[in-house]
């Protein structure tokens, strides 16, 4: 059996579907006879969920690689900058309780382990700034509402590392236009009435309402929570992780700005509540706000009241949209000639914006490993599943880290989150090691890591975690070099907070003048 893989059919026209189409087409279509045929079919009646609005910095590279102009992206998708996240009320719930998970690595990282020095200096010394502020200039930039670059900085380049906040509906439309007009993706609008399997259990074709049978060699399931192919047709079970991550509901609203010139916050705001947390992301024209909570720990009415208290008077005219969340993922992501990407593969609360980045990583891997024949597809599928499982596990660990270190005791939601039985073994082991040394690259040695050790440092020390270095003073014997790095950070903070423009001012300029490619 050496059937060649000559066509890919992507089912679903949300962010996942169009990102898959763009990445696969950009690599496998060059205007030759050998080109892979890339088709995307989407339903006219099934809408897209469209709440994935925060990205990782990886999105810059993804967009650049598929040939998109960053200026156009800003103009078409209400895009703003995201320089990491500010976590408020997570550690103690006190008024002044906040920390940052910025996108710029700690000064000197990874050759210099500033975390150990900071841990040493901060013991019993109130004067020492927070970890994220002491080792990284980006918090100061964010606190002042500044953009991560200048109008003279080329497209996709930066002064401070950044990702995006975007309008998911517009993003899907924008990608569609690019895919159809520039990348030669065939676009079919039709309903999928049936998924027809062959004798081997592969998907032979889709039965569509208007166009009849739609066959392909590889199918990409981007049908969202419906999981039409991977779940309904192929019966791959879902593996829930609600025993680790308790969030199972979201209440989402779109909050207009009070004035058209209101400042845009250049990072995600994540504010802990009694039974979950509120996300708040700034686009050009509005904010996207939502309360994700655990229905086992509160009622919808209480949750609505907490969301209303967060949003303020503007909530009067808004109707929160309730979205049920089932945390977890498929037991297998690639089965036979079908691979699931996006919500059909799984879902986790948007705490670290893992949805879009998992889509990017998955489609990049599918595209790079695109099997040439049906029989080698088995090898590809096995590798894809292995790596993707690893990634989901790491994300689950990292999300749980935010909860299990909290000292909040104002509700069972927080108490239950500290229950050792709810913490994955892999995370418990890491935490045991980090009692005596800082997270480092040695803890994250796979080529397929999701979060660098620096991210764990930001959350760990942001949450008030203390290391015991009492009998290992030799790890901080290079004080002069550390002091130099702390000083350098002070200088960088001073320099960039003076030079960088306000976020809305830069976005206005991007819309008017555009960014140069070089």
């Amino acid at each position: 059996m050496t059937a060649r893989i000559k066509s890919v059919c992507i089912v679903g026209g949300g962010s996942a579907g169009w990102l898959a189409a763009a990445v696969i087409a950009a690599r496998h279509r060059a205007g030759t006879e050998d080109d892979l045929r890339v088709t995307l079919i989407e339903s006219e009646t099934v809408g897209i969920l469209g709440v994935g609005e925060g990205t990782w910095p990886t999105m810059r590279n993804t967009l650049r690689k598929v040939g998109i102009s960053e200026t156009e992206f800003f103009r078409e998708c209400n895009v703003s900058f995201k320089q990491g996240a500010k976590f408020s009320s997570w550690a103690t719930g006190a008024e002044d309780d906040f920390y940052y998970h910025p996108l710029v690595l700690p000064e000197g990282f990874p050759s210099l382990d500033l975390a150990s020095y900071w841990n040493q200096y901060a013991q019993g010394n109130e004067e020492v700034p927070s970890f994220s502020d002491a080792v990284c200039f980006q918090e100061a930039v964010c606190e002042r509402g500044l953009a991560p670059k200048l109008i003279t900085t080329p497209e996709y380049a930066c002064i401070a590392n950044y990702a995006y906040h975007l309008d998911a509906h517009k993003f899907a439309q924008f990608l569609r236009k690019h895919c159809v007009e520039k990348l030669g993706v065939e676009h079919v609008i039709d309903e999928v009435d049936d998924v027809v399997l062959d004798g081997q259990g592969d998907i032979a074709h889709l039965m569509t309402r208007k166009g009849g049978a739609l066959a392909a060699d590889l199918f990409v399931d981007c049908t969202g929570f419906h999981a039409l192919l991977i779940g309904k047709a192929l019966g791959v079970p879902f593996r829930p992780c609600g025993d680790v991550l308790f969030i199972d509901r979201a209440l989402a609203v779109q909050v207009p700005y009070e004035t058209p010139r209101q400042e845009i916050v250049p990072h995600t705001l994540s504010t802990a509540q009694k039974s979950g947390w509120v996300w708040d992301i700034g686009l050009q024209n509005r904010r996207g706000v939502g309360y994700v909570y655990s229905s086992a720990h509160t009622t919808k009415e209480e949750a609505e009241a907490e969301l209303a208290a967060y949003v303020g008077p503007a909530i009067e005219n808004l109707q929160p949209r309730e979205i049920p969340i089932r945390s977890g993922h498929r037991e297998t992501f690639w089965k036979g000639n079908c691979v699931a990407v996006g919500l059909s593969a799984g879902f986790l609360e948007p705490l670290e914006a893992s949805a879009l980045v998992l889509i990017e990583l998955s489609v990049e891997m599918i595209s790079a490993m695109m099997p040439a024949t049906r029989d080698t597809m088995e090898i590809t599928a096995r590798r894809f599943n292995e790596v993707t499982h690893y990634r989901w596990d790491r994300i689950i660990d990292f999300l749980k880290l935010h909860y299990c270190l909290s000292q909040r005791a104002d509700s069972d939601f927080w108490n239950d989150n500290r229950d050792p039985d709810s913490i994955p073994d892999s995370l418990r082991e890491q935490l045991a090691l980090w009692r005596y040394r800082a997270p480092g690259d040695q803890d994250f040695s796979s080529n397929n890591e999701m979060f660098p050790a620096a991210s764990y440092q930001y959350v760990l020390f942001g949450m008030g975690f203390k290391m015991d270095l009492s009998d290992r003073s030799y790890v901080v014997r290079n004080g002069a070099r550390a002091d130099e790095a702390f000083r350098r950070n002070v200088l960088l903070k001073d320099k960039w907070t003076r030079v960088l423009p306000k976020t809305r001012d830069l976005i206005d300029k991007i819309l008017e003048y555009g960014m140069a490619k070089v």
């Binding site: 200048l150 109008i151 003279t152």
Partner: protein, 244 residues
């Protein structure tokens, strides 16, 4: 700088000393150009692109120094160049843009009253005794007219280069005769590799749009960078001799 709109009543007796123009250029290392003067400018200067700090957009410049504030053509008395860019020749006048009653843009000739060139003892006036414009002011008006009429075509020139991805940053890594290293960033040139790969059809299009001649002028003008370095080395050698 104190710009006021020029009027026959208020400025009939204004006197100008053109000889002091170069003083104003003494600390300028880049002077903006329009494409009509590229041909003349390459007699002396490399023509490079640089970004406007407010808009991020490219404009072409005659490069006169290797660092901000340095003009290697200023010899203490005048400019040691055979060509004087229009944006220096127009001084102390410029064109101001505002709106008329209908909101349409209106161009007006302005003068910088704080320029050292505005001098009661200056040899040139704007109006002759019979009320006609002086020959000097006629020349100024011609310069302003050329700048105004070539500005849109210069913008278009830049647009075409950017659209076709023909611009690249030119990072200069220089070691001066004194041994001192000098790194220059922020200057952009035409990407010659990409330019030379353009198809015949593309070249024909560029020729038709009047892009070809200024593009070649820019590419050939990079040879003038060496003249700038030579001037810098000579200046340093002179300073060195002075201190020994």
């Amino acid at each position: 700088m104190h710009l006021v709109e020029l009027s026959r009543q208020d400025h009939a007796h204004l006197r100008i000393d053109p000889a002091r123009m170069a003083e104003q250029a003494a600390s300028c290392h880049m002077i903006p150009l329009v494409i009509s003067e590229f041909r003349r400018a390459i007699a002396d200067f490399p023509i490079m692109l640089a970004k406007n700090q407010e808009t991020g957009r490219f404009s072409p410049y005659a490069v006169m120094g290797l660092a901000p504030g340095e003009n290697l053509f200023w010899d203490g008395a005048g400019l040691d160049s055979s060509y004087v860019p229009l944006n220096l020749g127009r001084l102390p006048f410029c064109i101001g843009i505002d709106e008329d009653e209908t909101g349409a843009p209106r161009h007006a000739v302005c003068v910088d009253m704080e320029s050292p060139m505005v001098d009661d003892a200056g040899p040139e006036g704007l109006v002759e005794s019979d009320g006609r414009d002086s020959a000097y002011f006629g020349t100024i008006q011609k310069i302003l007219q050329e700048l105004l009429s070539w500005k849109p075509r210069t913008d278009r020139f830049i647009e075409v280069l950017a659209e076709r991805d023909l611009i690249r940053e030119l990072r200069l890594d220089i070691v001066l005769k004194s041994g001192a290293p000098l790194v220059i960033t922020g200057l952009y040139a035409i990407d010659e590799d990409r330019f030379n790969r353009l198809s015949d059809a593309d070249i024909a299009e560029l020729r038709r749009d009047g892009i070809l001649e200024p593009a070649y002028a820019m590419m050939l003008s990079t040879a003038r960078i060496q003249s700038l370095i030579d001037r810098r080395n000579r200046a340093e050698a002179k300073d060195g001799a002075w201190f020994q």
